[in-house]
C-alpha cells in the first residue's frame, strides 16, 4: 500500500470525535458594500453577536481562530476589545475551505486541554478594501518567483485560476451553461427570502447566460458577490453547548483542506474535471457514519455556480458527470429534495469565505432560520414553508446538513452536522 493513498486513512476504526462537539453560537454583521468600519470593528460586532446568540459572556470564551489573506485584523486585538482573556489563539492564512478545517482544529485544541470554547471569525472589507475579485490591491502585489508561472500570464483571479477545470468538465461530460446557471437561479430564489442578503432579486437561467462573459465559461452572474462583513462561529463540547439557549448543531465529521495530488500545481494530476471532494469524501462520510443520501440540506461553496456543481458531484450526491443534471432538476431548490445554500450563499447573500454557509446550516438545524415568517409570542418564528418570494426558507425536518468548502479545484474542506437528539 502506498503511504499517500487515501484508503490508508483509517476512517472506520474509531469514531473520532463524532457527536462530541457542537456549534453553540453564530453571529454576523450585515452584508454590505461600503462598511465604513475597520475589520477590527466588524470582527468585534460579529463575535459579540455570536456570544449573545450562545448566551455567553467574555469569561466563557478562551480560544480564538481567524483566517485571512492579508486583509484582516488579528485575534489579540479583537479579544482585547471584547474583554476576552485567551488561553489559545491562532490567526491563519487562507480563504475558502478554512472554516470547516478550523472547526476541526477547534475540536482538537479543546480536546488537547488547551482551552474550552473557541470563537472563529472572518472579518473582511471584501468590496471596499481588499477586493476578493482580485482587482486593486491584490493585483498590485509584486510578482515573484513561483507566481511568475501564473500571474505573468494574466492568470490570477479565482475565476481565471479555476476556469480550466470548469471548461474541462463541460468537455468531458457535456455539462451545459444552462444547467450550471440553475445554481444561481436556486440561490437567488433562496436569497429572496433572506432579509440579510445583499442581492435579493430572483434570476432566470436566461438572465445568467445572457450576462456578460468575465472569463469563459463564467458569466457575470456565475460569479459571487463582493461584500464587506464579518462572521463568527463558536465551537465547544456538546455538553457545554447544551447549556446554551439555542439547540446545538452537532458536529459529526470534518475534513480540513484535503488536497488532490500535486497541491503545488494541481493541474499536473488529472482528471482536472475532478476536484478535491473526490478524496475528501473518503474521510467525510465514514467518519460521520452517514452518506449523501442522509443529508437534508447542503452548503456547497458557491464562489461560482460551477464550484457548487463540481463539489456536489464529487462528494457523491450524484454520479460522476451528472452534476449538471443534479443542480438543474429542482433538487437543490427550497422545496426540492435537498436544497443547497438556503441563505443565497456567496452568489447572493454575501462573501465570507464559507462562514455564512455554516451559519445558515446551523440555523437550519435549529429550525430557526431568520426569514420573514411571523414571530410567535415565545419569540420564535412560525415557519410557513411557503417558499414564494419574500416568504419562508426553513427546510422541513432538517436533521442532517453537509458543508462543502472550496479553496480551489485541488483543495477542499467539509463538515457534516446533525440535530441534537438527547
Amino acid at each position: 500500500m502506498s503511504l499517500s493513498s487515501v484508503s490508508d486513512h483509517d476512517a472506520s476504526s474509531g469514531k473520532f470525535l463524532r457527536g462530541k462537539y457542537a456549534i453553540c453560537g453564530v453571529g454576523e454583521t450585515s452584508y454590505r458594500r461600503g462598511s465604513e468600519e475597520s475589520t477590527r470593528s466588524l470582527a468585534t460586532w460579529a463575535i459579540s453577536n455570536a456570544m449573545k446568540d450562545a448566551g455567553m459572556t467574555a469569561d466563557d470564551i478562551d480560544g480564538m481562530f481567524s483566517y485571512s489573506g492579508n486583509d484582516s485584523t488579528f485575534s489579540p486585538f479583537v479579544a482585547g476589545d471584547l474583554g476576552i482573556r485567551l488561553n489559545f489563539y491562532m490567526d491563519v492564512h487562507g480563504g475558502g475551505s478554512s472554516i470547516e478545517a478550523l472547526i476541526g482544529m477547534s475540536m482538537g485544541v479543546i480536546e488537547a486541554g488547551m482551552c474550552k470554547t473557541v470563537a472563529i471569525f472572518r472579518a473582511m472589507n471584501g468590496y471596499s478594501s481588499v477586493r476578493i475579485g482580485g482587482t486593486g490591491a491584490r493585483s498590485a502585489v509584486p510578482i515573484v518567483g513561483d507566481q511568475i508561472h501564473s500571474r505573468a500570464y494574466g492568470w490570477q483571479s479565482a475565476g481565471q485560476m479555476f476556469a480550466p477545470t470548469f471548461l474541462r468538465h463541460m468537455y468531458d461530460y457535456g455539462t451545459t451553461p444552462e444547467q450550471v446557471a440553475a445554481v444561481k437561479v436556486a440561490h437567488s430564489k433562496h436569497a429572496s427570502n433572506n432579509p440579510k442578503a445583499f442581492y435579493k432579486k430572483r434570476y432566470t437561467v436566461e438572465e445568467v447566460v445572457n450576462s456578460r462573459i468575465i472569463c469563459k465559461p463564467l458569466h457575470l452572474l456565475d460569479c459571487c458577490v463582493e461584500t464587506d462583513n464579518a462572521t463568527c462561529i463558536i465551537v465547544t463540547r456538546l455538553d457545554r453547548a447544551r447549556d446554551c439557549p439555542n439547540p446545538p448543531a452537532v458536529i459529526q465529521s470534518v475534513v480540513g483542506r484535503c488536497c488532490k495530488p500535486r497541491a503545488d500545481m494541481h493541474y499536473q494530476h488529472g482528471p482536472i474535471s475532478t476536484v478535491a471532494g473526490h478524496y475528501a469524501r473518503e474521510i467525510l462520510w465514514p467518519n460521520a457514519g452517514l452518506g449523501p443520501e442522509d443529508v437534508d440540506v447542503t452548503g456547497s461553496y458557491d464562489a461560482f455556480t460551477f464550484t457548487t456543481m463540481l463539489q456536489l458531484e464529487d462528494y457523491g450526491f450524484c454520479k460522476k458527470g451528472d452534476g449538471g443534471h443534479y443542480v438543474s432538476d429542482g433538487t437543490i431548490e427550497l422545496g426540492g429534495r435537498r436544497p443547497n445554500n438556503t441563505s443565497g450563499g456567496h452568489l447572493c447573500e454575501g462573501y465570507t469565505h464559507g462562514m455564512n454557509m455554516v451559519i445558515e446550516n446551523t440555523r437550519q438545524l435549529r429550525g430557526d432560520v431568520d426569514d420573514s415568517c411571523p414571530i410567535g409570542p415565545d419569540g420564535r418564528r412560525r415557519h410557513t414553508h411557503d417558499y414564494r418570494e419574500g416568504g419562508c426558507r426553513q427546510v422541513k425536518h432538517a436533521e442532517v446538513t453537509a458543508n462543502l468548502g472550496w479553496a480551489m479545484p485541488g483543495t477542499g474542506s467539509a463538515m457534516v452536522m446533525a440535530k441534537d437528539h438527547r
Binding site: G145, I148, G154, P164, L167, D264, M265, Q268, G270
Partner: protein, 173 residues
C-alpha cells in the same frame, strides 16, 4: 542580484535563492526549453520544484524538452483583472499537455504547461486566432523576453501539425 525585469508594465522578480526558477527562465532566454528530471525517478516535472513529486529526491538534471503539445484546457479572459492586461482582452491562457510523458506515470498525469496564446512572433493573439483554438488544438512553444537572461514560455498554433477538424470550444462566442 535578483533577476528583475519589466514585462507589460509588471515587475517580475526571481530572487537569488530561487535557483530552480532562475535556471528555468534562463534556459527559456536561450530558447532552450528545459525541465528538471529527477535522478531517481527519471521523471520530468513542471513547474520547477526543489524535489521530485514522485520520490522526494532532491537531485535533478535540466533536460531539453521539445515544446510541443495539445491544448488540455484553457481560459479565455474577457474582463481583465490586472491593469497590465486591460488592453489585451480577449486573451487566452493555455494549459497544454506536452507530448513527452503524457499519460505517465499514471493515466491522467501530464506535463501541463501554461502560457498565453501568442502569434508566431510572440504578440498576443488577435480574436480571430483565439477562435481557432480549443481543447485538442496542437500548439508549439514561443518565447517572449523579459530581460536578456529571463524569457517567458508561451504557446502558438502549430501550423505544421495535423490539427483536429474542430477543436472543442466553449459554446458561446
Amino acid at each position: 542580484m535578483p533577476i528583475q525585469g519589466d514585462y507589460m508594465g509588471m515587475t517580475l522578480t526571481i530572487e537569488d535563492l530561487d535557483g530552480e526558477n532562475r535556471d528555468f527562465f534562463r534556459y527559456c532566454a536561450r530558447r532552450d526549453f528545459r525541465l528538471q528530471r529527477g535522478k531517481q525517478s527519471g521523471l520530468l516535472r513542471y513547474p520547477p520544484t526543489t524535489a521530485c513529486p514522485w520520490t522526494s529526491d532532491r537531485e535533478s538534471d535540466w533536460v531539453p524538452v521539445e515544446g510541443k503539445g495539445t491544448v488540455h484546457s484553457y481560459v479565455e479572459v474577457h474582463h481583465p483583472i490586472q491593469p497590465a492586461f486591460r488592453d489585451k482582452v480577449p486573451y487566452m491562457i493555455i494549459l497544454a499537455d506536452l507530448d513527452i510523458q503524457k499519460g505517465a506515470p499514471t493515466e491522467h498525469e501530464a506535463l501541463r504547461v501554461a502560457g498565453n496564446l501568442m502569434t508566431a512572433d510572440g504578440e498576443f493573439a488577435p480574436p480571430e486566432m483565439i477562435k481557432r483554438v480549443g481543447i485538442g488544438t496542437r500548439v508549439r512553444m514561443v518565447f517572449v523576453d523579459v530581460t536578456d537572461e529571463f524569457a517567458l514560455p508561451h504557446w502558438t498554433i502549430d501550423e505544421d501539425a495535423e490539427q483536429p477538424d474542430k477543436p472543442w470550444r466553449y459554446a458561446q462566442e
